[in-house]
């Protein structure tokens, strides 16, 4: 097998979901009602082909003892010392992630085939699922951080749109918006890190360090390393639901059950750790960043386990359980257990995906547990009741019920002031505009703002 053929295998491991997105998007553009069989077949087989291609690629690489297969697809642009190469890389990090993504998406796609039968958003669902798969594979196989950023953004977009899948209700839309804002705030970190890397080392396409996969190039100055490391850590906080941004994660359980399973149980939440694994060289170079990664991970794990204990619906319970394990994975990566973290990610993704897919079984599971135990289920959380003073118990319980007050603090101390400020700016802007035009605006000062938003009524 020549290297050229191997390189094409890399393409086969990334391209099919893009093809599915294109076909479904074109079909959606022309409207009408394409058959469900057509839609789901395209979605499912795209991942099937991807999975097989990745498996073959892995076999090839193992047999030939190759660590890296690179596919150059050219260059987007080239200005002065900056160039944007489009290249895909298969290495021991992208291959397992690729297998996990395409494999679980194949299963979830198959699950959804029946689960979403007769749903009016059937096409939209498969389109977004394919988009998510395509984006994740692009992120995973991208040969540079800048290129990976495209995948990162598309993952966020598809995630947002699937949380808001049932957009006729306000809850899903609100929670989708929240996830979206969190993503955007954190994505800034990724973009800034990539720019800073170019600024300092002129590339984000890096060489291999001590690990068997490529990692980001380490800047020459320690403070640059620190900045890039912090920015990348910042970027991962949102997508992986770490403290203090984790509030969106349980709220994201608004879409159809299979999409919740694949995004927030399996793949999407593990992309933060993926990015950290890609920038492991920076963690090795800066112990401060590594320490912070461990710190964030452990704090999240403790936060998640405390808050998760009082959740009373199965999906929130699983969301917090996921948050806990992803926190531990952060800690593992920070402390250098990179290969173990990879195993942990794969196992955790598979386990949660299964748990979320069968979350509606929970009622009858409990009766089954009882039958098998032959007794009522034992009471949990006894040590909490037995070993803590009453006042602490009450406070802890309530703190957990309110999710460690994290959401309230974020909204009250950060979001609220920003909104206040922008309102003031808006008012100033309006006064300024009135001053220039020389007449007061159309707005009726006595009318509350929400009533002014209906031009149709105003015309009558």
């Amino acid at each position: 097998m020549t290297q050229v053929q191997e390189a094409w295998l890399v393409l086969a491991a990334v391209a099919p979901p893009f093809f599915a997105v294109a076909v479904l998007a074109i079909r959606a553009w022309f409207g009408g009602h394409p058959s469900e069989v057509f839609i789901s077949k395209i979605g499912i087989w795209a991942f099937g082909v991807t999975f097989l291609a990745t498996l073959t690629l892995m076999g090839q690489m193992l047999v030939l003892g190759r660590h890296e297969v690179v596919l150059h697809l050219g260059e987007w642009f080239h200005i002065a010392h900056y160039h944007f190469p489009i290249r895909l890389v298969a290495d021991p990090l992208s291959i397992p992630f690729g297998l996990l993504t395409s494999g679980l998406l194949f299963v979830t796609g198959t699950f959804s085939r029946r689960y979403l039968h007769r749903e009016s958003g059937y096409l939209r669902f498969y389109l977004l699922l394919s988009l998510f798969g395509a984006a994740t594979l692009l992120l995973v196989f991208a040969g540079s951080l800048d290129f990976a950023f495209f995948g990162w953004e598309l993952v966020g977009l598809s995630s947002t749109l699937l949380i808001g899948f049932f957009h006729q209700r306000s809850g899903p839309v609100r929670h989708a918006f929240r996830a979206y804002v969190t993503y955007r705030v954190c994505d800034f970190g990724f973009l800034a890190a990539a720019v800073w890397l170019h600024h300092t080392v002129a590339t984000s396409t890096a060489s291999s360090g001590t690990l068997s996969w490529w990692t980001a190039e380490v800047p020459a100055h320690a403070h640059d390393t620190l900045i890039v490391g912090l920015l990348l850590l910042w970027a991962t906080l949102g997508k992986s639901g770490q403290v203090p941004f984790g509030g969106w994660l349980p709220r994201a359980m608004e879409g159809p059950t299979p999409s919740s399973a694949i995004f927030y149980g399996a793949i999407s939440v593990h992309l933060g750790p993926y990015l950290l694994l890609r920038s492991a060289s920076l963690l090795d170079a800066s112990h401060l960043v590594a320490g912070l990664v461990i710190f964030v991970g452990l704090v999240t794990a403790v936060h998640g386990t405390l808050v998760g204990r009082v959740q009373t619906d199965i999906k929130s319970r699983l969301a917090y359980a996921t948050m806990v394990q992803v926190g531990l994975i952060f800690a593992e990566i920070g402390s250098g257990l990179r290969y173990f973290a990879l195993i942990h990610i794969a196992g955790h993704a598979a386990l949660r995906c299964l748990q979320l897919l069968r979350s509606p079984s929970i009622v009858h599971d409990y009766f089954r547990f009882e039958r098998k135990l032959g007794a009522t289920l034992p009471r949990l959380g006894q040590h909490f009741e037995n070993h803590l003073p009453k006042a602490v118990q009450l406070w802890l319980y309530r703190g957990a019920l309110e999710r460690g007050f994290l959401d309230a603090i974020l909204i009250d101390r950060i979001v609220h002031p920003i909104i206040q400020l922008s309102r003031k700016i808006d008012a100033l802007d309006e006064r300024w505009a009135d001053f220039i035009v020389g007449s007061p605006g159309k707005k009726d000062p006595e009318m509350p703002p929400h009533k002014q938003l209906a031009p149709m009524e105003a015309k009558q």
Binding site: T110, R114, H117, R118, F166, G171, M253, G255, P256, T257, G308, V310, Q311, T312, D313, R317, L318, A321, V324, Q325, H344, G347, A350, L354, L357, R358, S359, P360, I362, V363, H364, Y366, R368, F369, E370, R371, K372, L373, G374, T376, L377, L380, G381, F384, K390, A391, Q393, L394, Y397, R398, A400, E402, A408, D412, R413, H416, P448, H450, K451, M456
Partner: protein, 993 residues
């Protein structure tokens, strides 16, 4: 506040009565595992049907009738004919009204065209859109007929210059303008009365929703209080009540920095110091919200209904605490109200404060006393649009609209026939069509059947009255005309508290309206053969914790195996698992010694033993039946079905249940007569009773002689996988054994055919599927994790036939009918019929109306789409992350339902039925108010009577579509939708040969 004066006591009693009143309107659904079909509009049954429906729709914000698109589809499928429309219009109008004419059109003609064509109605914004896009006058309405188009163009040409297009446009514009002018003087439709919740007022005033603050918080609290075991920590001191827990948790300092909760800790500290009860807290909050006493009732009603799922669950667990799936909780609606009103006061007043301008601070009292601004004048555009379209569609002489009074009258006609009235009329027309086809086919069937030769009965089979068994029985008799089927409510008269082998909780297997009378236990004959790592409970909990979760998720790749197998190969995976899970069991139902039952040790153990009474202590049910009791049960069942002689050597008694996986609504698929359970155990009990010689001796003494050669064999029909499993056959005689061999063969084939018939409803299954394939397909559905519709359940239910099997044998009823066996011969006083009706009508009606309203407005009366469902506290489902508990049937269950009330056809005489109704005021009320249709079929004369406003009126059957086919498959093959009721020859022919 602990020493209330008389005024205080009065206020308390007002509060109590207000809460009782409001509680009636809350959903009455038990926790998920105990789902029972019932009428969601139960509290409106005292009203005539259509009145109740409209009142409930107004109160709960629901749609009253199915959508007009639904009716338009029925009209296009001719399930509503012109004749039906004219008939209901005729009944609804006075003669003078009908004859009123305008511009050459009578009112009757106008109304008919309005209903028949059902042009779209659009809202104000859409009309304005058409205006601004200049599409309002671009052409005649698309439904205008060719002739009418020509006529209108002709008129346009005579009146206007220019090309025909311009002339048409000018004509339409003139028409529109005249109607607009006329509408100015017309009083606009009455606006809906405004709600009084403060949140609604502030939402109208400021556009800020206080519920957006309140609900997520309240949902979290209420769910945490009610939780049955999903959470790891339960709420501290839960046994002291919800309000108490709330105060204890939230009066602490260092709480949430959320702004709207800033005062909460102070408020609750004060309430705690003054030893408030939940009632005091309600009164305090109402005062804070400045709700005058006269409005309390309405305010509380609106407040509770705003989160009705949780409020209803508190109520249910208060009234029936034993329905809690795992753990009893002292839930009280009053506690819930206290917490919700306290929080509502915080949230609403916060919104109010935030929206005051510094310059003009407003007191809440001022805002409340301000009269709502009168709606600004202006044309009622949607109405004008309706009138504009109808003027084109009805053959109205447009030149006659010159006079303003004519235009006004035309608008008035259109306004009168509003959406609600149209819905009512269309629904009446649909039901009329349904009833007429049904009675026509039954009447025809009697004539047809007279020419068929009755086959010889080789064995008898007793099924449940369930509509899903209609098709199964039909297929069984087609496959083997030697089979003669009967039906009885699926608990077969055995109202028992049943402990399945290995279960620690009993299940009451009887209709909800009955109490179980005895305890029955199942025991495993072999040891427990299950393997694995304990119960799986610790594994489940472990995955959600920190350290155990770490270990388990690091090893998590193992879960790829069940994940892939269960999703990709559900059937294979399940059967591998199942083969080890079904031990052979026996049932202990008889008490061997007469003093056995007074043994106190025989009562059921455990703190969770359910009891239906509200006394709080478990009622002591006897364990096992005496021979006398057994003989009474058997006698009662046989007498009601009219099976007292001519016993075949083999009598099968087949209960039913449904298996599916990943389905929290499993109980909704079960047998209604066993309260959502499975009727198999009941069948086992009654069959073994009937086989006992002591029971048979007693029966013989009462004139029911069961020959020694006759043997009863119990069985269970899984309505999802269409498997029939037969239980105990030991002791069976030679003759019965012979019949059993052929019965087994027939059952197998009937299962395949029934599966095949059911598959036509599954949209993704090809209509050309073979029966063998269909059977494996339904088996796979019953074990598939990803299947949102394991079966379509009662989706077609629409009628109930009470009478001999001879009436319906060989009649293709398309799974629409509950069939209840009853023989009117020898029951002239109706004593037996009365019991039969009481046993089947309430169950059938509950199922029917649950589907009816679930289909009419699934968002309000149903649980919405299953796709985002999230089980909360093991009690109910939420939509996604944080919503109210959704009660009722989910959308995928009801999507194909065509809502008609249960048409109950009873083989009897009007005299007998009238007498029974006099004795049963409840049934009379339901019948008179029209919550089900009661028809009497006089089989001697082959005529029908319909019960209307207290009287039985003779009906005349109209000719409808019907047909004769050799087997059922020919009737439905290749069709998904409605098929005509048909006569099937196979149920007879082979016997004749």
């Amino acid at each position: 506040m602990n020493t209330p004066n008389s005024n205080e006591a009065e206020r308390q009693s007002v509060l109590l009565s207000a809460i009782e009143r409001a509680a009636h309107y809350l959903p009455q659904q038990a926790p998920l595992h105990a789902f029972v079909h019932h009428n969601p509009l139960h509290s409106f049954e005292y009203l005539p049907f259509y009145e109740g429906v409209e009142k409930a729709a107004g109160l709960l914000g629901a749609r009253a009738y199915p959508t007009e698109e639904f009716f338009a589809r029925l009209i296009s499928q001719r399930s509503i004919t012109d004749e039906d429309l004219r008939a209901v219009l005729g009944e609804s109008m006075e003669d003078s009204e009908r004859a009123a004419a305008l511009g050459g059109v009578t009112y009757a003609e106008f109304a008919f065209k309005r209903l028949k064509i059902l042009p779209e109605t659009i809202d104000e914004n859409a009309v304005q859109f058409l205006q601004t896009e200049e599409r309002l006058f671009s052409d005649f309405h698309r439904d205008v007929s060719v002739d009418r188009r020509a006529e209108l163009s002709e008129l346009a040409r005579t009146r206007n210059p220019g090309t025909s297009e311009e002339a048409n446009r000018a004509l339409l514009e003139e028409l529109w303008n005249r109607l607009i002018d006329a509408s100015a003087t017309l009083r606009s439709r009455e606006a809906a009365p405004q709600t009084i919740r403060r949140r609604d007022l502030f939402l109208r005033e400021y556009g800020v929703d206080a519920d957006a603050l309140l609900h997520p918080f309240l949902i979290r609290l209420a769910a945490a209080y009610l939780d049955q075991g999903i959470s790891y920590w339960t709420m501290p001191d839960r046994e002291r009540g919800f309000y108490h827990c709330f105060v204890a948790l939230y009066r602490q300092p260092f709480g949430s920095p959320e702004r709207w909760l800033a005062d909460l800790s102070d408020v609750l500290s004060r309430q705690h110091a003054e030893k408030f009860s939940a009632q005091d807290a309600c009164l305090f909050a109402l005062q804070k919200l400045q709700v005058p006493e006269a409005q309390w009732s309405q305010y509380i009603e609106e407040s509770l209904l705003s989160l009705r799922g949780f409020a209803g669950m508190f109520r249910q667990l208060e009234v029936l605490p034993e329905k809690a799936p795992l753990e009893r909780i002292p839930a009280q609606l009053m506690d819930y109200l206290a917490v919700s009103l306290t929080l509502e006061a915080e949230a609403a007043l916060y919104v109010f404060r935030e929206n005051q301008r510094e310059s003009s601070k407003l007191e809440l009292g001022h805002l409340l006393s301000r009269r709502p601004a009168l709606a600004t004048g202006g044309a009622d555009l949607p109405l004008v649009y309706e009138a504009y379209v109808m003027a084109q569609l009805a053959d109205l002489r447009l030149d006659s609209l010159g006079g303003k009074d004519v235009c006004e009258e035309w608008l008035r006609w259109n306004r009168g026939l509003d959406a609600r009235l149209r819905g009512r009329l269309l629904h009446q027309a649909f039901e009329r069509n349904h009833i007429e086809s049904l009675i026509f086919s039954i009447a025809e069937h009697q004539k047809w059947i007279a020419h068929q030769k009755q086959p010889k009965t080789e064995y008898q089979a007793i099924f449940c009255i369930d509509d899903r068994e209609e098709s199964y029985r039909r297929h069984l008799e087609e496959v083997d005309p030697g089979a003669c089927t009967y039906s009885f409510p699926g608990f077969f008269g055995v109202a028992m508290r049943y402990y399945a082998a290995g279960d620690i909780r009993p299940r009451d297997l009887c209709p909800v309206v009955l109490r179980p009378t005895h305890v029955v236990r199942e025991t495993a004959e072999e040891g427990d053969s299950s393997w694995g790592f304990g119960s799986g409970y610790h594994l489940h909990v472990g995955t959600t914790t920190l350290l155990r979760g770490f270990l388990l998720s690091a090893l998590g790749l193992i879960s790829v195996v069940p994940l892939v197998l269960a999703v990709l190969f559900p059937r294979w995976f399940h059967f591998k698992k199942k083969s080890r899970d079904q031990p052979k069991t026996r049932i202990k139902f008889a008490c061997e010694m007469s003093d056995d039952r007074h043994n106190p040790g025989s009562d059921e153990p455990g703190p969770h033993s359910p009891n239906r009474g509200d006394s709080g202590k478990p009622d002591h049910l006897p364990e096992g039946y005496t021979p006398e009791e057994m003989s009474q049960l058997v006698e009662s069942m046989l007498t009601q079905m009219g099976l007292k002689r001519d016993f075949a050597p083999l009598v099968l008694i087949i209960g039913h249940g449904s298996s599916s996986t990943n389905n929290p609504h499993l109980a909704a698929y079960g047998c209604g007569a066993t309260a959502g359970g499975c009727g198999g155990p009941n069948a086992r009990v009654i069959a073994q009773m009937a086989n006992r010689s002591d029971v048979r001796d007693l029966l013989a003494g009462r004139g029911i002689v069961i020959p020694e050669s006759t043997w009863f064999v119990p069985g269970m029909h899984d309505t999802c996988s269409d498997d029939v499993h037969l239980y105990e056959q030991d002791g069976i005689g030679e003759l019965a054994q012979k019949a059993l061999v052929s019965a087994k063969k027939a059952l197998e084939e009937a299962s395949r055919n029934n599966a095949h018939e059911r598959c036509r409803l599954f949209g993704e299954v090809s209509l050309q599927i073979a029966p063998e394939k269909a059977k494996s397909l339904v088996e796979s559905r019953s074990v598939d994790l990803s299947e949102a519709r394991p079966e379509y359940n009662h989706v077609k239910n629409s009628c109930c036939v009470v009478g001999r099997r001879e009436l319906t044998r060989g009649l293709f009823l398309d799974q629409r009918a509950f069939l209840t066996s009853y023989d009117p011969r020898g029951d002239d006083d109706g004593a037996i019929l009365r019991r039969v009706l009481l046993g089947s009508v309430p169950v059938g009606m509950g199922i029917n109306l649950e589907y009816f309203f679930g289909a009419v407005d699934n968002q309000v009366y149903g649980a919405g789409s299953k796709l985002p469902h999230n089980v909360s506290g093991l009690l109910g489902v939420m939509d996604g992350h944080s919503s109210d508990l959704r009660t009722g049937l989910y959308q995928q269950m009801t999507e194909l339902h065509e809502p008609t009330r249960l048409v109950t056809i009873v083989e009897s005489t009007p005299e007998t039925l009238r007498k029974i109704l006099e004795e049963e005021p409840r049934m009379k009320e339901l019948g008179t108010n029209g919550w089900f249709h009661l028809l009497c079929f006089d089989s001697q004369k082959n005529v029908f009577f319909r019960y209307e406003s207290g009287e039985f009126r003779l009906m005349s059957a109209q000719k409808k579509e019907d047909g004769t086919e050799p087997v059922s498959r020919n009737v439905y093959q290749g069709r998904r939708g409605r098929v005509p009721f048909s006569h099937i020859t196979a149920s007879f022919e082979a016997g004749a040969a």
